[in-house]
Symmetry: C2
DNA sequence: AACCAGTTACTTGACAATATGAAATATTTA
DNA sequence: TAAATATTTCATATTGTCAAGTAACTGGTT
């Protein structure tokens, strides 16, 4: 296990990633707050705006207990952003889906995530491609060349 | 406002960063849980292991209300990981510092953050330098060439 | 020096949101 | 029928905000 724990270059990259993570969360919560949503609520609403899904799957995506999702969806439903409907294939399951208002809110939320866009605007296309490839390799994703 | 919201390359990089963020938090919380610490507790302990500081400064670093820090440090103190001491220069201030056990725990925690190291191990030195420079520019940091 | 107003640091209390885990209900599956 | 699954409810802990309270510092005045 000769992992290079003290390699200064690695440490610096780790710290930079930590900064990226912190700023990402900060901006995400700010954007959510601008719509009077908590971070968790915004995340669930964003998930559902891509695709309605059962409560259990939300819990899996969020990596939390299903009982926790009940409360979050309750609050979103109370605000008219999400609706619970039956699953025709399984009467135990409840499918959560955004209302029209919820879909609009999710769209606005996505638009207001400036962090993603603005700093990247400072990079050239070439830079962005490079960054994409490095992140892909870091995450162990195959990338299109392997597909 | 001609922000390129739909530029596919930008969107992909944004999504990759989102994945990095998610994995970072996941591993951080796992590492913390392995020491029976919550994420917030681990973050505060990590902060203090770099440098003891007043309660207020912890709140600033965490971007939360000082009253919140009181509870987190209370719990860390109850477990013998952190101690509150007086600030000789200002008797209103309480300096939080890790105990020896706390310092050891923080060190182990840092060591178990494999996400930081392992994926980076898949990158060459050249790659890491490139990633560092791109992240730096993305974050609007000057970098050493400007220092 | 003493005093007083305003500010600052921290804590406490009330409350909401998030999170877990155990137990209950309804439904599906074998 | 028995076991497993999806969801909810309840008890409880943590995290977070805000308002109020206490202690201590600061600056300006005598």
């Amino acid at each position: 296990m000769a992992t290079p724990r003290t390699d200064p270059l690695t440490l610096e990259v780790v710290e930079l990633i930590g900064t990226v993570v912190a700023r990402y969360y900060e901006e995400y919560d700010e954007a959510a707050a601008a719509h009077s949503l908590t971070g968790a609520q915004a995340r669930v609403l964003g998930l559902l705006s891509l695709e309605p899904m059962p409560m259990r799957r939300i819990a899996q995506k969020l990596k939390c207990e299903p009982s926790n999702v009940t409360g979050i969806v309750d609050r979103l439903e109370a605000r008219g952003l999400v609706e619970r409907g039956p699953d025709p294939a399984d009467r135990r399951v409840k499918l959560a889906a955004p209302t029209e208002l919820g879909a609009r809110t999710a769209h606005q939320l996505r638009d207001s995530l400036t962090f993603a866009r603005e700093p990247l605007a400072g990079l050239s296309d070439e830079d962005r491609r490079m960054l994409r490839d490095l992140l892909r390799r870091m995450l162990g994703e195959p990338g299109p060349s392997a597909g």
